[in-house]
Symmetry: D5
Subunit: 129 residues, 10 copies
């Protein structure tokens, strides 16, 4: 088997397709996922796996040059806010509605089991060369 990294067959394949500038939405279990983008549903039950576990797992794999979250996270979910701000010093905050419409053009949506509000981030892929 693989030595390490992403063990999920669907996610591993989807990540390899990504190119520079592609959007990857990592979202909580309640996010209304639009029809269109490819979805990898990792959610099992409330909280499993968590937004933080999945985000950090993806950050080990992907070159990321930008991140956008919903402004409402700051008030509703301090934990996610702290996580996002430490991971993305230049985090962009937009209204949740705008994040949802931006997500319709994501190339990949990774759904977690997160059950705390506004734990969503739209990553913009960078490139390692």
């Amino acid at each position: 088997m693989k030595k390490a990294g992403i063990l999920n067959r669907h996610l591993a394949g989807a990540l390899a397709e990504l190119g520079h500038g592609h959007g990857v939405l990592v979202c909580d279990a309640g996010m209304p996922i639009p029809v269109g983008p490819r979805v990898v549903d990792l959610a099992f039950r409330a909280g499993v796996p968590s937004f933080a576990e999945v985000l950090d797992g993806l950050l080990d794999e992907l070159v990321v040059e930008g991140a956008t979250a919903a402004r409402e996270v700051r008030e509703a979910n301090p934990g996610a806010t702290a996580l996002l701000q430490t991971r993305f010093p230049a985090l962009e905050l937009v209204p949740h509605e705008e994040l949802k419409s931006l997500s319709a053009n994501a190339r990949l949506i990774v759904r977690t089991g997160e059950a705390r509000p506004y734990a969503n981030v739209l990553l913009r892929c960078g490139v390692f060369f």
Copy 2:
């Protein structure tokens, strides 16, 4: 969205199909999954989600009347052994090779991210009437 329970679209559908006597294998990330049974791949990274998290989540959903694990678990993985023995007082233990061949006839295989050895159990579905 759902109030509770299984949030994974693939797993939720697969569980609803199960009937009395069907086998459900819950396995670690290293189990060589045979071709044939339906597979729901919840694995994300080593340990995420864990065998325990997924097993308990499934036991909340399913009527289970029997469970079979690999004898080798007792020595190799005390944690999983303790978990299995508390959950299934009448746990059946067979050689790992036999568990693998039994699993080829499972109706559903749920792959976790578990990265500790022999954390596999073949559940036999019961019926609530």
Copy 3:
């Protein structure tokens, strides 16, 4: 097998996909279902299963924060009207034609065997966190 809840494989999977704000149309057997949304066809014969049975089964499973029905139900179907008003104190009523066009953007359509007029309701999903 499952202990309780939704036993239909198609519906169980479809419900797990739903997110906050997604629309779910529960409709009678005569509703002209638009092409686009996912459809779970539970209808068997006239009246089986009924609108009430299916609606209540779904309300046990889903967080619902809004409901819209056709104004014409009040006159044409007192039974359904009473059911809807007790289940949804803040029920919104719109012309049947508008309900039909709103339904084209539903994420899921659940068709019942109901054979009494205007027994349709467009549920708006809430979120449990």
Copy 4:
């Protein structure tokens, strides 16, 4: 829409394929459905729709020249026994295990929401000419 009869798109199509001698299993929600035969899953929740509702609906549509049920039904489910004996005076009774293996060769399996034991019958299609 249709004037009457079977409203379910999957079932309506499946019934039209049946020929003389084909087997149709009508089963409760707990029956372990084998891989192979075509399945129409009408089950919604425990008891909905019932075995009786679905059986009678099918008997309105199909020419049936034989029926086989599990011997164990007599003790475990008087209601289903009475229903089966009135519908099929020449009802054949076999061990439940044999009914399960016979069902593997059914051409169609119709799953109901029935949640009372041994409410299963394997119908043998007749022909109207």
Copy 5:
């Protein structure tokens, strides 16, 4: 097998989907069928099955509340004209070109083997409750 009614597996399933207001085009073998609507191709050879046979078979199955044909039928095909006028006292006549564009929004197109001109009718489904 079925006691009576529609024996075609594709058509039987398609009819069960229809709802109030859906369009069903019954057409001759020469009609240029648009891409989009579901098509059930019953045509075998010129004249087999005929427009009349198929139309009457469908009228036994469906609630129909309106019908539209091509004005040109009156001159080109007296037989079809007579059939349509007896079946649909309130038959609507439009230019053939308009019938073709209306047919692009039909939910179902049933192609017959009819080989006499303008033997086409766009039925509007009614509802039995």
Copy 6:
């Protein structure tokens, strides 16, 4: 459109695949069609289209070097018997059960709407060079 011949898209494609020695079963609506061979379902309603119409249509298209029917046809269906004997002077007659098992290896099964018993014939394709 085509000038003449087979107008059914499914059948026209299937006939073109046939090679020397391939079996083509033309059957009535009640024949229990085995899983495996390709099926073109021309059946519409009882008697439409008839066995004779379809058989003669196929004989215009195909090189046929042999034909096998069920012995029981002679008693049960004089009309079909006469048709078969005129079309195939060297008609082979076997028990109906044998015809059914032979049909499992047919390359193509063409189902008609015929509703008179034993109107089935297994044609063996010839070759025109």
Copy 7:
């Protein structure tokens, strides 16, 4: 097997679908085939089969009431010009670019192995009744 006519399974099926007014593009191997129309690729190698062989084969099968080719054929390909003019006395000539855009709405594109320029013709189907 078939007595005569089109032996290609894909083409035989596609031709049977055609209706009055549908476009059929017969083209050389270099034509940039647009995404959308159904394509039957008969091309094998340069020149095999030729434009003339395929065109004449199709004209034996189809009712054709119109034909459009690229004006540039007259200068670039006398052979094809002569063929087209004898087959279609009322041949319409348009710029190659216009032929390409017209072809995007063809119902069927038949690609030959022709390797001489502008050997393309867009046929408009007629109807035999």
Copy 8:
């Protein structure tokens, strides 16, 4: 477009898959093609394209280390016999029935329009290193 070689999309892809020892059957239009192997149907009409054209086109593309034909070709088809003997000095001849059963294990079957008997050859792929 391609400079030369195989222009058929299906065939070009299929040839690239071939490995050392794989069987490729090149056959006439009447050969009863078994279910199983991949089929590329180049046949258009009787004789188009010919067995010779296709065989020589394939021999330009493929490393071939063996060839088997039906013994009956010598008497029934001198032309094909001469072609095969010049192309394959070590041509193996077996009864036609044996060639048919060998062909069931071919990796690829290329159907031509050839309409002269026994114009079939089973090529065994070689390897260029």
Copy 9:
């Protein structure tokens, strides 16, 4: 097996489809590939296979009458610039953003493992007759 040329089954098939004027994008591993065009993913790991290996392989197979690259390549990637200028004396240079939007209409995208910036070229197919 094939004697030479493209050994990849997906690419070999895709190249055969190309026509005069079709676009083929050969790109590095970081290019954000748009949804729509057919993609053949040859990338294995960073640098394997290289842009140069794949480009030259394709130029052996395809007639190319034009090539467009990103202006930024000149500064960021002298190696690729030199390669492109020798292969395409009339190389067109446009802003990278424009190349990306042009690529959305390519008929085929071939992804390499190239890991040096702006190693992308949009080829315009020519025709060999």
Copy 10:
């Protein structure tokens, strides 16, 4: 995009599925790949990518506990022999025919562009816990 590792979407997904004991065949372009196992075709042209490049790339990703190659490699391909012996001190050598039959049970086959003989190795996956 990914930071490193396998960039091929098909291969990345396939590797994530592997479990302890699964076989992975890495082969040259001439290996006759059996029907059954999943195939990722990385081959581009003779030698691209090479057996060594792909093998080493896979060894970076996979836990491997065993390797089997064809005995004939020692004489026919010293380069591959040296590579295999350095990578797998306990390399098992079997007749090429046996390697081919073993490969039919591989879970994954990775085809390279290697064009030197017997450059094939069947890896047996290990597990990292």
